[in-house]
Amino acid sequence: MEKLTFKVQRYDPDKDKKPYIQNFTIPFKHGMTVLDGLIYIKENLDNTLSFRSSCRMGICGSCGMLINKLPMLACHTPIEELKKDTIEVRPLPNFPIIKDLIPDLTPLFEKHKSIKPYLIQDTEEVEKPTAEFLQAQGQLEEFVQFAYCVKCGLCMAACPTVATDKHFLGPQPLAQAYRYSADRRDAGAKERFKQTDTPHGLWLCHLAGACSEACPKGVDPALAIQLLKRATLADSFRLTKKKPQPSVAPSPEQKKPKIAVPEFTIKKPAAKS
């Protein structure tokens, strides 16, 4: 494989009536990613090509695209893994297009905001914090995989229900609703259920599992939605136990060192003669 053909969807809403495909031929290099290919096109062949990218290492979640008909991060997709010398790149489906490969992720962020993605606590400690809330390892493991979400929108692009119902909350906000509600330091589950237990909420999920397949960070939104359904039903029938107040870490003054510092290691000020 010496040459690659990139079939890139182009669309400028100011000029074009509808999207079209433009072909580019570029040289192949070992270890190249789809994002490297797009950067090569922008730098050498057509500087009007628009796409979004930042970290180039699958952390920021900016370069989500439909690569050979599957939603993926362009920086996280080595061309050799695709096993094809023709690569079709389109913007993420289920979102409006701003230009070329740039989707408008505003619907995702609005839905994400609606589920209150932050810890809700109505305690004195939150008003006047003295130290951080303590959390055991087991408590963290109840939700930690869902906290790896980078908000790239791939799960929303893969979801068949988001494709048909634009009001459906979608896998990302629902998974985050579970992530915060499962946190022992949070007491805002009931407020989130008002958003998620609605006609366009979690019950519209058909458990296709496409979201979990698409996630580049190994998050399983389909599992989070199932766990959220269980938590919602428990809340509906008042079977949920009230969470105990999270304990707060002792202040540094209250802390005693686990092992006493040997006396001889402490430098004493020299006695004045």
């Binding site: 048909t164 119902d165 009001h167 237990d197 006609p199 366009h200 019950w203 509906s236």
Partner: protein, 109 residues
């Protein structure tokens, strides 16, 4: 009303349909003679037990079916106002079907 209450009723009616239709099949079609015979039909129509079973199947079936149809229509990106109209339409259509259908076994009884 919370969506989870409607959903749990969907599960309950689904399980109810499974057992009641199973009971109907077991008693009428598998353990006695021809269930479509006149004598067999008239005996069932005069039985209060069968009347109860048929009305329960009717209630469970209508709820389960109408809730399923609502779920399908909801996926057409309906705005909140249209969802309210849909909810009432589903309730009225369900009640109309129930009113007509329940009159038949009651009349026969």
């Amino acid at each position: 009303m919370r969506e989870s209450y409607l959903k749990i009723l969907q599960y309950i009616t689904g399980i109810g349909i499974f057992f009641l239709v199973g009971l109907h099949l077991l008693i009428s079609h598998l353990s006695s003679g021809d269930p479509t015979e006149w004598s067999s039909v008239s005996r069932r129509a005069a039985s209060a037990g069968w009347l109860t079973i048929y009305i329960l199947i009717l209630i469970f079936g209508i709820y389960h079916g109408m809730h399923g149809v609502r779920g399908l229509i909801l996926e057409l990106s309906l705005p909140n106002k249209a969802v309210r109209v849909l909810n009432w339409a589903i309730v009225f259509i369900g009640l109309a079907i129930f009113g007509y259908a329940v009159s038949i076994p009651i009349h026969a009884f």
